[in-house]
């Protein structure tokens, strides 16, 4: 199969949400000793970009969007060991520490954002749900993150977003990380009020927001 043909197939696999095909194509690329950076850039990335476009146009709904993200992640998981072996560093758009704040076990929204960020080239450390606020900061320090993303579904737990920022201030780390907030009760006003760096209405907008803040 020609390179271009393979790339087109990769994009289609992502767009149509066929996970095992996306993985198989990644294996094929490894076997053919292709330039894996190019494989990602010309094969898979156009696929996930198209998924984003279709979603924005209103043709794709959340199941297609999230499936596209999952396929992208699956393909990357196949490629990653090879990239590591060859000591190839993929260009990360930024490092993100994400989780749902303590006391809140809701994680659909957070998973969507996490998945979309990761599918769109961000390096994501997902801490899961009901995460202690200190843990976000510890992990951000440890991984030298660019972003801390705090999710909350409940009006009662969204206060954790505010507390996390207060905690950053206490530790003299405020401003070191871009803090993004999200979840049903959050909005731009809330983000401004608590001194966060941004809020996004949905997962795709979160990707754009992060990209904008990173200047990527």
């Amino acid at each position: 199969m020609k390179k271009e043909e393979l790339y087109a197939k990769m994009a289609t696999a992502i767009i149509e949400g066929r996970k095992s095909e996306a993985e198989d194509l990644a294996r094929e690329a490894i076997k053919a000793k292709l330039d894996l950076t190019e494989v990602i850039e010309k094969g898979y990335v156009p696929g996930i970009q198209k998924v984003g476009e279709l979603w924005e146009k209103g043709d794709y709904f959340l199941p297609e969007l999230i499936t596209g993200g999952e396929c992208m992640k699956a393909a990357m998981a196949v490629l990653q060991p090879e990239l590591d072996k060859a000591k190839i560093k993929t260009k990360s758009k930024g490092k993100v520490v994400i989780g749902t704040v303590e006391g809140d076990i809701h994680d659909i929204g957070k998973n969507l954002v996490s998945s979309m960020l990761s599918a769109n080239g961000f390096d994501v450390v997902d801490l899961g749900a009901d995460v202690k606020l200190e843990k976000f900061i510890e992990k951000a320090e440890e991984t030298k993150a660019d972003f801390i993303c705090l999710s909350a579904l409940l009006t009662t737990t969204m206060l954790g977003q505010k507390k996390a920022i207060e905690l950053l201030k206490q530790k003299n780390l405020y401003g070191k990380y871009k803090v993004l907030v999200g979840g049903a009760p959050a909005n731009q006003k809330w983000s401004d009020e608590i001194g966060a760096d941004g809020y996004a209405e949905n997962a795709m907008l979160a990707v754009k927001l992060a990209a904008r803040l990173k200047g990527a």
Binding site: L62, I108, T155, A184
Partner: protein, 498 residues
């Protein structure tokens, strides 16, 4: 047949119109699958006390994962001890409400974090005065039988946010209250407030005036907070309302019937916890599921599929002989527009037709997050329509009409007939808010949209009805309990009440 012989005949029984979406076979299949999941996959219960109760009842509990495998025989035993009818009492203890059978009681949608200011038309955070107005208004509305702790006052610190709304509700309204805890430690002081109104724990258990909502987290998980609320309420003799809330395709299966299976499984676990905590304790089979919007990731409460899930599980709850509850008669609109009326109207009517005992929703906009006093007033009228519908078409007299037509001439006046005067108020509603004016009268009155008419009506109601204040000595006691709890949480001052 002569008129005198007709008079001796029995009146024809009025049919209570009813909505049923599931066949008996379908109900049984859903329940069977729920049992199978509870047994095989088990359910997460993040509460040590509950897990201990399960272990004592002979269930397999994985302590490491907090998962319990529930056997059908235990759940059925618990269902047998759960009461099918609950009596709820108002603040005076004199007025009794039956929660069971096909009785319907509306209460305002609860725990809104925002209010739609009826004077400015803007959404904002509510404060103490808003909560007071909300409670006072609820007290005035005849078709809203229960009050709810429907607004979270932003001018008090978070640790007392749950108890504070109950405190205000008890002072300003006589109606039974639908409430719930935000923190495990809040149950005690909230129960103390209720007991102070009744004159002791025993008196409270004998005449409960509050329902405590407890929400499992879909899929198949009961958190520590909500499980503890179930246990505490059961032991205090207070009814718990199980608020299972799968989102189709996001936190439960995408199919309505699939969501029903999970809903039933979660609720059956709740019933079991309540009965293991205290045999015979009251528990309501409720919920707040939604048809997840796959485009926007939102949980629309006004979707017809949401209402179908509600009517479906309520029918299953009835089959299980339990009182029922649902979040209906509310809207996702952001303002009191046509959508608000449409979704609320459809929900109120379907909920009433389904015979759901407690229907929480009136006043609520924006996915259960914003209360509107105007909407509450409008919705009271909608609920009135729903009540009228389920009261059905009655045979008021015997014969129905023939005797009234004796001596009929083209000059016969229906308007002046004694028969008209006798029945017109019983047979028909005369709305205050809905526009029934002629076009010219509507223009002359200033072409007011419904929200404006409702807003004016709020002012009128609050002006003309003095607050239904609780007795002074009880109020002092309530304030003492709240203040002590606030102090224990490091809160020294509280807003002054009007």
């Amino acid at each position: 047949m002569t008129a005198s012989r007709r008079k001796g005949k029995k009146m024809i029984k009025t049919i209570r119109p009813k909505l049923e979406l599931l066949s008996r076979r379908f109900i049984e299949k859903i329940i069977d699958e729920a049992y199978e999941i509870l047994d095989k996959q088990g359910i997460f219960v993040e509460n040590k006390e509950a897990l201990k109760l399960f272990t004592q009842a002979g269930m397999k509990v994985d302590k490491k994962t907090s998962r319990v495998h529930l056997k059908r025989r235990l759940v059925e035993k618990c269902l047998a001890t759960a009461p099918s009818v609950i009596k709820l009492y108002d603040r005076t203890g004199e007025r009794e409400y039956t929660v069971g059978g096909d009785e319907v009681h509306f209460d305002p949608g609860s725990a809104a974090v925002r209010i739609l200011d009826h004077k400015t038309g803007e959404e904002r955070k509510p404060d103490t005065k808003d909560v007071v107005d909300f409670c006072r208004l609820t007290e005035c509305l005849d078709n809203i039988h229960f009050q709810s702790t429907g607004l979270i006052s932003a001018d008090v610190p978070h640790p007392i946010a749950d108890i504070y709304r109950l405190y205000i509700g008890l002072i300003f309204s006589r109606k039974p209250v639908v409430t719930g805890t935000f923190r495990v430690q809040s149950f005690r002081p909230m129960k103390d407030l209720l007991a102070a109104v009744r004159g002791g724990d025993k008196a409270l258990a004998a005449k409960p005036m509050a329902i405590f909502d407890a929400c499992p987290s879909p899929p198949l998980k009961w958190s520590n907070l909500t499980t503890q609320s179930l246990i505490d309420a059961a032991r205090a003799g207070l009814p718990s309302e199980l608020i299972s809330m799968g989102l189709t395709g996001a936190t439960s299966l995408v199919t309505i019937s699939g969501t029903l299976v999970q809903h039933v499984a979660e609720n059956l676990c709740g019933v079991t916890i309540v009965q293991l905590a205290k045999k015979g304790a009251p528990v309501i089979f409720g919920g707040s599921p939604a048809s997840f919007d796959m485009k926007r990731g939102t949980p629309p409460m006004g979707a017809i599929e949401t209402m179908m899930i509600d009517a479906g599980y309520a029918q299953i709850g009835k089959y299980l002989n339990l009182p029922t509850h649902a979040y209906m008669a509310l809207s996702d609109a952001k303002t009191n527009d046509a959508q608000a009326g449409m979704e609320t109207g459809v929900g109120a009517v379907l909920g009433a037709l389904a015979g759901i005992n407690v229907i929480s929703g009136p006043g609520m906009l924006d996915f259960e997050s914003c209360q509107s006093l105007e909407k509450l007033v409008i919705d009271d009228e909608i609920c009135g329509m729903a009540y009228r519908l389920i009261s059905g078409i009655a045979q008021r007299d015997e014969p129905i009409a023939t005797d009234k037509f004796e001596g009929y001439t083209p000059e016969t006046q229906f308007l002046s007939m004694p028969h008209t005067k006798k029945w017109y108020r019983m047979e028909h509603l005369y709305p205050v808010i809905a526009d029934r004016d002629t076009y010219d009268a509507w223009v002359a009155l200033g072409k007011k949209p419904i929200a404006q008419r409702a807003s004016e009506h709020i002012e009128k109601l609050l002006r003309s009805n003095p607050p239904a204040l609780i007795e002074k000595d009880v109020r002092t006691e309530l304030t003492r309990i709240l203040t002590a709890y606030a102090k224990a949480n490091g809160i020294e001052s509280l807003p002054a009440l009007p």
